[in-house]
């Protein structure tokens, strides 16, 4: 643990902070928020509803606000012990700095050490502004030579030139927007001779979100400070960027400057987003795929685009194996491949969506960066813009672009898995994490309950379960994607997900297959090696039931419940008894056999869950018996599930 601040020091700090806030100089980091959205957000945090939280964060609720009791979402989440949610909040920019009132309180309130350590590890040094990376990319563009992304040259009277980006300039300055939209062929802009170069450099740093130097006059400049300031003033008016003055004035106070900078970045983000929508999305074109080649875009267009991305529209017809592999035979089969439910009525023409985009933002992905820096076709100068095919549906591409341009990730669960693959291919780790985050909201939220859903019958769909109706993603796909793409977080998630609903999956052929796959993932597997997935499932299974057992004293209960049953079964199926085991385990083993048998029968005949009969005060267990109360039922269920796993392993001839 890091050094703790003494109470009196903390109090002094809080007082100081309060005073600054009262005097209006400093904005509160955790403002009071009584809006219904925020209340809902807090409620979702209390429940641990990952998905709802994710949605609300995406919709823009302030993650660092507090309610009338001074609770922030992070405090509630850590108080209620939702580890994944705490992680999500921290990753989304929730503040838990030691030495602030809120930060200390959060750490103090955390339910357990695991969460506490997580919070501490996100202390000030690490919890960066989520927009930091985005902003510094912008700043870096200013001096960046390769790959070439600049498309406007500013010439100054002294002969110094600046290579700038039309997209950014028009996003940040209304003046440039008007000017450049009116005359898209503009490639140079002349700085009036009356304005010192230093002034322009300063303004540029502001536009590109760089740090503003305290001394506006460079060391070897010929201009005086006054001239430079006058120049800045003129540029402000000309480029219509009045906010710049605030920046100049706040440059001397570190905290104010930081706050000002954050505001500015947020503003810039909005501006870029707006321009992004006004150019890239607005000018999206959908054409027939076979006509794509005929599209010629000039280099100087009103969208300032220097590149075109193409994504083929997904056809919800035909069998995917044919359609996706069409153009060049190596398309990544992201589109529908598995058997479609309803047969296609007719073959439609293929369509493609084209987006005019800007390399300046694309190169945030190492994929594009390499592409444009290399000597391959895409990096060659041509008369018309290159059209680069993307292996995803337009919706996913839009999500990717949105992220690249604005750092926002508004991920719909339906496409999350696609996005996971696409971002992996583009080597966008951050987006990949976000996609994984989105996926891990699966099954949480409104349909958290486990046993109730069980009663819903699964019908003709072979691999789907009840979530086929509810969840847009197949959990088997998720685990395979996790394996493919090395997403540990999703592996954990799936294991927990499966553990929570194991009774629904344990008997499926697909599940066995999955376990087998997991076992095969380890090359040259030894007899004694474990199966990773299964271990994880066991772990979560234990967690699922553990709390109750600890309180109730498992052993007593098991004995009470099962002794007579065991004897009964022993008589019926003596061949199953295993030597040398304790009475209880012995009894349980018998019980399992008993449990499996009816289950197998139930699979053909209907479902175990169909047995909905209920006696007063009693609870039905998984093997169809009636336990005295829920605790007893849980204990039995736990054992039943564990033993079914063993039985399955037996069948698969795997040891674990």
């Amino acid at each position: 643990m890091t050094a703790t601040i003494r109470k009196d020091e903390l109090e002094a700090k809080i007082k100081e902070e309060k005073e600054l806030i009262r005097s209006g100089e400093l904005r509160e980091e955790n403002p009071l928020d009584t809006s219904p959205e925020f209340q809902e957000f807090l409620e979702a945090c209390r429940r641990g509803d990952l998905r709802r939280c994710q949605e609300l964060i995406s919709s823009g609720v302030n993650i660092n606000s507090k309610d009338q009791f001074d609770y922030t979402p992070l405090i509630i989440a850590s108080l209620c012990g939702h580890y994944e949610l705490v992680q999500l909040l921290l990753e989304s920019g929730a503040l838990a700095d030691r030495g602030t009132w809120v930060g200390e309180r959060t750490v103090y309130n955390a339910l357990n050490d695991r969460i506490r350590n997580l919070l501490v590890s996100y202390d000030f040094s690490k919890s960066t502004d989520p927009l930091q990376e985005w902003a510094s990319h912008l700043t870096a563009l200013l001096g960046r030579k390769t790959p070439k992304t600049a498309d406007l040259t500013v010439i100054t009277s002294s002969g110094v030139t600046f290579d700038l980006h039309r997209f950014i300039l028009s996003a940040r300055s209304p003046y440039f927007y008007k000017k450049l939209v009116d005359a898209p062929e503009t490639t140079t802009w002349r700085l009036p001779a009356t304005i010192p170069v230093d002034s322009f450099t300063f303004v540029l740093r502001y536009l590109y979100l760089g740090d503003l130097p305290r001394d506006v006059v460079g060391p070897d400049s010929t201009s005086t400070e006054e001239e430079v300031f006058k120049g800045i003033d003129k540029l402000c008016k000309q480029l219509e960027i009045e906010k710049l003055w605030e920046a100049v004035l706040s440059a001397n106070d570190r905290r104010l400057a930081r706050q000002r900078y954050q505001d500015e970045v947020a503003r810039a983000q909005r501006q870029v987003e707006e321009t992004f929508r006004g150019t890239v999305l607005k000018h999206k074109m959908v054409v027939d795929t076979d006509k794509v080649d005929k599209i010629k875009w000039p280099h100087h267009n009103a969208m300032f685009a220097d590149c075109i991305l193409r994504a083929d529209v997904e056809e919800d017809v035909e069998d995917g194996a044919v359609t996706t592999e069409s153009t060049n035979g190596i398309g990544i089969p992201v589109g529908p491949h598995a058997v479609a439910s309803d047969p296609a009525p007719a073959k439609k023409r293929k369509r493609s969506a084209l987006y005019p985009v800007h390399k300046a933002f694309l190169i945030r992905s190492p994929y594009f960066e390499t592409m444009f820096s290399s000597q391959f076709l895409e990096a060659q100068e041509t008369e018309h813009l290159h059209i680069i095919k993307m292996d995803c549906v337009p919706e996913v591409l839009e999500m990717v672009l949105n992220f690249l341009y604005t750092e926002k990730a508004d991920i719909s669960l339906e496409l999350a898995l696609d996005l996971l693959y696409t971002s992996d291919m583009l080597l966008l780790d951050k987006l990949k994490t976000k996609a994984a985050q989105a996926i891990s909201t699966l099954g949480s939220g409104s349909n958290v309950t486990v046993t109730v859903d069980k009663s819903k019958a699964k019908k003709e769909n072979g691999n789907g379960k009840e979530e086929v109706e509810v969840e847009p993603i197949n959990v088997y796909d998720v685990i395979r994607a996790a394996w493919d793409l090395n997403v540990q977080r999703l592996e954990d998630f799936v294991a927990r997900y499966l553990a929570d609903r194991l009774e629904d999956y344990i008997d499926e052929a697909d599940f066995s297959e999955l376990i087998q796959e997991s076992a095969l993932r380890l090359k040259a597997r030894q007899e004694t090696d474990t199966i990773e997935l299964l271990d994880d499932i066991r772990y979560y299974l234990n967690e699922r039931f553990r709390l109750r057992f600890e309180d109730a004293g498992v052993d007593d209960m098991l004995e009470q419940n099962d002794t007579e049953l065991a004897q009964q079964y022993q008589r019926e199926v003596p061949q199953d008894s295993k030597d040398g085991e304790t009475d209880v385990a012995y009894a349980m083993g018998v019980a399992i056999d008993a449990a499996v048998k009816p289950k197998v029968g139930a699979n053909s005949a209907g479902d175990v869950g169909q047995l909905t009969g209920e006696e007063e005060g009693a609870v039905q267990t998984l093997d169809g018996r009636w336990a005295e109360d829920e605790l007893a039922a849980d204990a039995i269920n736990y054992q039943v599930l564990l033993d079914r796993i063993d039985a399955m392993l037996e069948k698969l001839k795997l040891d674990a």
Partner: protein
């Protein structure tokens, strides 16, 4: 809701996807190698490789690419290189056959070979970069996850394994089998660099390219950071080669025997190597190669160069070759932060020069009047040319001043070096300081001379100088004082000289005196200057006393006819040198000397006044230290109508107190009456020696000859007769009779011995006190410890002689202050 069938990924789709993808990639690889990449679509290729990896075929892809590249390398890259490896190339590089080829030929051959290697490398590097771009996903996932070196590292490593490490396979018989192409590359590069060192022009950028190549290649495909081939192979070879080169160069320089040339050459070489590292090879080598040059050109033969006759360090110092010294200092600081060699030589040089000054001093004959005059000296205002014994003193003063001047100019010289050449180096400075103090203290009259120098300056030297100039003089003096170890000696001399300046009112500037003392105080502590300050205090008090007494007399209203103005100095015995106090005490006080009645009355009256406030004190009259100012009137000599003798002449005559007593006798005497030496002695009771001096001062020197002596000789002897000189004429109204004092300016040898003896006596007491102080505190202490402790304690007063300390310990044992311990090695304090 898109819920029904969407299954976004086919993780396990057909095995046969691999082949079309691989075909595509393979074709691309060929295009890349053939520089046709411009028509390839990165997107397509990346997708192909991505797909393969996703289908878990990464390993296969990895191996295929590797295999392809190896084959390509064998078929297309190797042959041209092998063609370059001619017999003659290897002959001139590895099997050195001197004179078999001309320099030019050698260079052309070598450069051609390097160009071949470079071109091949550039192509390979570009291709591998592009391939790595395409296979980025493979490297990022498969290679990392499976712990294999990245494909990039593997393919780029081909160049190392297949070219650089390819054996020369018996191309030339003389070679051992282990030689590889790398050796040839190295040898060619070294050869070219050596050519450049010899003044040739070579293709630097070519070598730079080759070096870049070596920096990008590693020993193994794991690419361990410090296992770059440049570091593991090239650099050691390069350093060894350079070492050989500079070894032989250094020998050449030694043969030439010119240290100045050596200095400049070495400096140039160092700069050259630095530039070479910047432009031709890697900057990371800069420090190491500098180390080699330093070792070979500087450290290896440093002493020989320093000792070089006519151009070595000694001649640099003697001829003030500042530039050489500066370079030398820079070079030596590079190799030895302690600068031992330089320090040693400079130290001994300083000592030698110091001793030379002493020798010089002994040789110079100050008795030659010109010399004395040349020294600009009226050091002794008593006409040195005339009186031989007085001249002695003047000579000494002159010698002292010359010595001090020489030492100071020597000091200036080294200070100049220190600032301009040695970068104010603290090590050198302390070394020089030590040498200075060494030779200064070796010279046994240094304390006296330094004091004399100050005396001289304070008396006349600072006349008409600005404050700043006075300051520098004082600074110099302090610098010298700082070097002295026997400070008690200096203290004694200074006290003596100061006393004389004060009592005889010869001090030029009171402010300067005070300043000097405050500086000494800063330098040596207040105990050192307490006596001097006491002397000043006495003088101040005396002035007040005198004024008070005058007021007192006026108040009494006793206006006498022959009013005598008394100016009295009351001296505290302890503060003043015993020569002033002591001598009078032993040779005769007031009681022995008969004062004229008016003076005696005055004395009585003052004594009364003095005791009014300070009863119980005893005043001893130190007649020898006093002076008197006599206003005398010489009546006109009858018979002379013109000339100065024709009127009354009034003069103010300054003489010693004895002089006054003697002259007052003649007040009552007629012009032609004579008094014999004996008569005067009888009347005044002045000791004969003093009397003869006194008489000499008023009867011998022309400008103050108020008495006539019979016979007219240059010596005053018993039996001489004296008479009032009625025809005394002087242009000045104020006349100062030369004061011939026993406490003469510079001591003769005997006197000095005496001073030393006295000093030793004082030291004895100081040592005794120190020993007792230490033992009282420690109770028991071993002999060695005691001695060393005594020496430390007394260090800032003087440097005690160990044997003297021993004697004192013996003495204290005898006096039973101490006793020997049982074991005989330590002493115990007896309370």
């Amino acid at each position: 809701m898109l819920t029904t069938t969407k299954q976004p990924i086919v993780g396990r789709a057909g095995e046969d996807d691999f082949d079309p993808c691989w075909d595509l990639l393979r074709q691309a690889l060929i295009d890349v190698h053939e520089k046709n990449a411009g028509k390839l679509s990165f997107e397509q290729l990346y997708r192909a490789s991505y797909k393969i990896v996703l289908r878990k075929k990464g390993e296969l892809l990895y191996d295929r690419v590797k295999e392809f590249e190896e084959k390509w390398f064998r078929d297309h890259v190797m042959p041209p290189i092998e063609a370059l490896l001619t017999k003659s190339l290897i002959n001139i590089t590895l099997v050195s056959m001197p004179n078999s080829t001309s320099t030019n030929e050698r260079r052309q051959l070598g450069e051609k070979f390097l160009v071949g290697i470079r071109d091949s490398w550039v192509d390979h590097n570009t291709s591998m970069n592009m391939i790595a771009d395409i296979l980025m996903y493979l490297d990022r996932t498969y290679s990392t996850d499976n712990g294999r070196p990245s494909l990039w590292a593997t393919t780029i490593g081909l160049f190392r394994d297949n070219i650089l490490r390819a054996g020369l396979g018996g191309l030339v018989d003389e070679l051992d089998q282990a030689s590889v192409i790398f050796d040839v590359v190295n040898a060619v590069v070294m050869d070219l660099i050596n050519l450049e060192r010899d003044g040739d022009v070579i293709d630097r950028s070519l070598i730079r390219k080759i070096v870049n190549m070596l920096e990008m290649l590693y020993e193994t495909n794991e690419e361990v950071q410090d296992e770059r081939l440049y570091l593991t192979v090239f650099e050691p070879a390069y350093l060894a080669n350079s070492r050989r080169y500079y070894q032989s160069e250094c020998e050449k320089l030694l043969r030439n025997g010119d240290a100045a040339e050596w200095l400049r050459h070495t400096q140039r070489r160092l700069a050259e190597e630095q530039t070479r590292c910047e432009t031709t090879i890697s900057i990371s080598t800069a420090d190491k190669i500098a180390e080699v040059v330093q070792q070979e050109l500087i450290s290896a033969h440093l002493d020989e160069f320093l000792a070089m006759e006519g151009s070595g360090l000694r001649s640099m110092i003697d001829n003030d070759r500042l530039e050489d010294l500066a370079i030398l200092y820079q070079l030596i600081s590079r190799v030895d932060p302690k600068k031992e060699a330089l320090k040693r030589t400079i130290q001994s040089r300083v000592r030698d020069l110091g001793l030379e000054i002493e020798q010089e001093l002994k040789k110079t004959d100050f008795s030659v009047p010109q010399t004395a005059a040349a020294e600009g000296d009226e050091a002794a205002p008593d006409a040195p040319a005339k009186a031989q014994p007085l001249n002695q003193a003047a000579q000494q003063t002159a010698a002292a001043i010359k010595w001090v001047d020489d030492v100071l100019s020597l000091k200036d010289k080294f200070d100049n070096f220190h600032v301009n050449c040695f970068d104010e180096d603290i090590i050198i400075q302390s070394a020089v300081t030590r040498s200075f103090s060494e030779f200064i203290n070796q010279f046994n009259r240094s304390s006296e001379y330094v004091s004399l120098f100050i005396d001289d300056n304070l008396k006349r030297g600072i006349r008409g100088k600005t404050e700043a100039e006075v300051d520098t003089v004082l600074d110099k003096a302090i610098v010298l004082v700082r070097y002295l170890t026997d400070r008690d000696m200096f203290e004694r001399y200074y006290q003596k000289h100061l006393a004389r300046r004060l009592l005889q009112g010869k001090s030029e500037s009171h402010a300067a005196e005070k300043e000097m003392i405050s500086r000494m105080k800063q330098e040596m502590g207040s105990h050192f200057t307490s006596k001097f300050e006491g002397m000043f205090k006495d003088m101040d008090l005396s002035r007040d006393l005198t004024n008070g007494y005058r007021e007192h007399i006026r108040g009494l209203g006793q206006v006498e006819q022959h009013r005598v103005d008394l100016n009295i100095s009351v001296l505290t015995t302890n503060s003043w040198p015993p020569e002033v106090m002591g001598r009078s005490a032993q040779e005769g006080t007031l009681g022995d000397c008969t004062m004229p009645p008016e003076i005696a009355r005055l004395r009585e009256s003052f004594y009364k006044y003095y005791l009014k406030d300070r009863s119980g004190r005893i005043l001893t009259w130190v007649v020898t230290a006093g002076t008197a100012e006599l206003k005398c009137m010489f009546p006109k000599v009858s018979g002379k109508e013109t000339g100065p003798l024709s009127k009354d002449r009034r003069y103010e005559l300054t003489v010693s107190t004895y002089g006054m007593i003697v002259l007052l006798l003649f007040n009552d005497l007629g012009p032609d009456e004579w008094l014999s030496f004996e008569e005067i002695q009888e009347k005044t009771n002045i000791p004969p020696q003093e009397l003869s001096r006194t008489l000499a001062s008023v009867s011998l020197a022309a400008k103050a000859r108020v008495l006539l002596k019979n016979p007219m000789s240059k010596q005053v002897r018993p039996g001489d007769k004296f008479s009032y000189n009625a025809s005394f004429v002087s242009k000045a109204i104020k006349i100062k009779a030369p004061i011939i004092n026993t406490t003469s300016k510079v001591e003769g040898d005997e006197e000095r011995k005496e001073t030393e003896k006295k000093n030793d006596d004082t030291r004895k007491h100081i040592i005794d006190a120190a020993i007792v102080r230490i033992m009282k505190q420690r109770k028991t202490l071993s002999h060695a410890n005691l001695v060393s402790e005594v020496i430390t304690q007394l260090a800032n007063r003087f440097k005690p002689d160990v044997s003297m300390v021993k004697v004192r310990i013996e003495d204290l044992l005898y006096r039973e202050y101490l006793e020997r311990d049982e074991d005989g090695t330590s002493y115990r304090y007896l309370a």
